[in-house]
């Protein structure tokens, strides 16, 4: 048995003796040198020790706890709802703001872009294969290249299995510009060129047949002189 346990035993002995003397209403209990146990005796004599809390407290406390538990659950859901509520309000606002922002940015961007230079207009005329055909060709300079907007009239739609093709002819050779079929009359078609049309002498429109090699055919339907 170690010292702690001996001390515990001595403590228990002293406290037991103290309680015995108090219970027997002995006069010498204070003189016995056990004042250290006065706190215990005080507790044993206190009404609160024996009476306990009022029974009504239990119901009052449990009611408060139940109320808090109930309030906590809806408030969590409400917080979730309110978060979504705020989001529901914020989403369209954000979308509209983003749209406005995009429009502004695009507009500014477009405004800052070097716009197409005022185009030069040429007139194409039909050959003997399309004697009634005419076209205006507006050549404009754009960042991606040169655009040639062709507004033709009197040019019949290309037959099935055939198509029209535009070419630049000049000392540097032949450059393809693109193809169209002219199925809808009155419209215009924009062709693109990676070379400057001014460096070429003629714009030539040919009738091509599907399946043939991508070279200018001999069937020229319209021409325009670019060196005027």
């Amino acid at each position: 048995m170690n010292t702690d346990l001996r001390d515990d035993d001595a403590f228990v002995d002293r406290l037991t003796a103290y309680l015995d003397k108090k219970a027997s209403h002995a006069e010498d209990v204070v003189d016995a040198g056990v004042a250290e146990f006065a706190g215990v005796a005080s507790e044993l004599q206190a009404p609160a020790t024996w009476n306990g809390p009022p029974s009504s407290l239990r119901q009052a406390i449990l009611s408060r706890v139940r109320d808090q538990a109930k309030a906590a659950a809806p408030s969590k859901a409400k917080r979730r709802r309110s978060r979504w509520g705020r989001l529901a309000w914020a989403i369209p606002v954000a979308a509209v703001s983003a749209a406005i922002f995009t429009v502004v940015i695009v507009a500014v961007d477009r405004a800052m872009l070097p716009g197409p230079q005022p185009g030069e207009t040429y007139v194409a005329t039909g050959t003997q294969l399309a004697p009634g055909a005419t076209a205006t060709v507006v050549v404009s300079t754009n960042p991606p290249g040169f655009s040639l907007r062709v507004q033709a009239s009197g040019l019949p739609a290309a037959a099935p299995g055939s198509y029209y093709s535009a070419w630049l002819h000049g000392p540097r050779g032949v450059v393809p510009l693109g193809s169209f079929h002219q199925h809808q009359q009155g419209g215009s078609v924009t062709l693109w060129s990676g070379v400057d049309p001014k460096d070429y002498t003629n714009l030539v429109i040919t009738l091509q047949a599907e399946g043939e090699p991508p070279n200018p055919s001999a069937v020229v339907v319209m021409t325009a002189n670019l060196n005027r």
Partner: protein
């Protein structure tokens, strides 16, 4: 070992050396199951009710010992359990809940006293906290420990101590009241006193100073948490 099987958790190396030959451990007041404490931690109201039923008396004893007034003690009692409920998620159900509640109860009772004694000056003059003489942890702990020890006695032992100390009856009067021979009353009283003294043996230790805020569970619990000290031999 969690102390809920009637034994007590070993929290210090000093006691860790004593566990090999345990004897004569007085029956401890029923402890709450880990399942109940876990449910309490999760906010289960029924589990909270069990915690209340188990610890209402010791919390009340602390509240009264600090406030010395029934109305304030009731206020402190309510606040203690509400704070415990609100702080339940911070409680570790593997540890004894008693010291955790004792800490909350003591600080809450002190808060109630400070509020009660706070001067009301009116106007916009800043108020100052009244200086409340803080009952040491000794007093609160003694109140708690005595309540826990009495709860661990059987009804016969508890009754004879009550008649002797609270009703202030002599042993002759007790003998007449209970219709028992005086010798029986004396021997029964002595056994009850002995058992109570054993249950309060931990009071010999120096009280643990606890300065944590209310509702904050201690990071480690004193070994005397349930009011029962493991004894290895007697």
């Amino acid at each position: 070992m969690d102390g809920r099987d009637g034994s007590h958790p070993i929290h210090s190396s000093r006691f860790a050396t004593k566990v090999t030959h345990v004897a004569a451990i007085p029956t401890q007041r029923n402890q709450l199951s880990v399942a109940t404490l876990t449910a309490f931690r999760k906010g289960d109201v029924n589990a909270f009710g069990e915690v209340y039923d188990r610890y209402a008396r010791p919390v009340w004893a602390v509240a009264v010992s600090v406030t010395h007034a029934d109305q304030l003690a009731q206020e402190a009692m309510q606040e203690t359990f509400i704070r415990a409920w609100q702080a339940a998620s911070s409680y570790d159900p593997e540890r004894d809940i008693g010291p955790w509640l004792l800490t909350i109860a003591r600080y809450t009772a002190l808060d109630v006293m400070r509020r009660e004694l706070r001067p009301t000056r009116g106007g916009h003059e800043a108020e100052e906290d009244a200086l409340v003489e803080s009952p040491g942890i000794d007093q609160a702990w003694t109140s708690w420990a005595v309540q826990e020890a009495l709860g661990s006695l059987n009804a016969e032992e508890r009754e004879i101590i009550r008649l002797s100390f609270f009703d202030d009856l002599t042993q002759v009067q007790i003998s007449e009241r209970l219709g028992l021979p005086l010798g029986t009353v004396k021997s029964r009283s002595h056994r009850a006193h002995r058992r109570l003294a054993e249950l309060l043996a931990h009071l010999r230790d120096d009280p643990v100073s606890d300065t944590r805020e209310p509702g904050r569970p201690p990071s480690s619990y004193p070994h005397r948490g349930t009011g029962q000290r493991r004894k290895e031999s007697r």
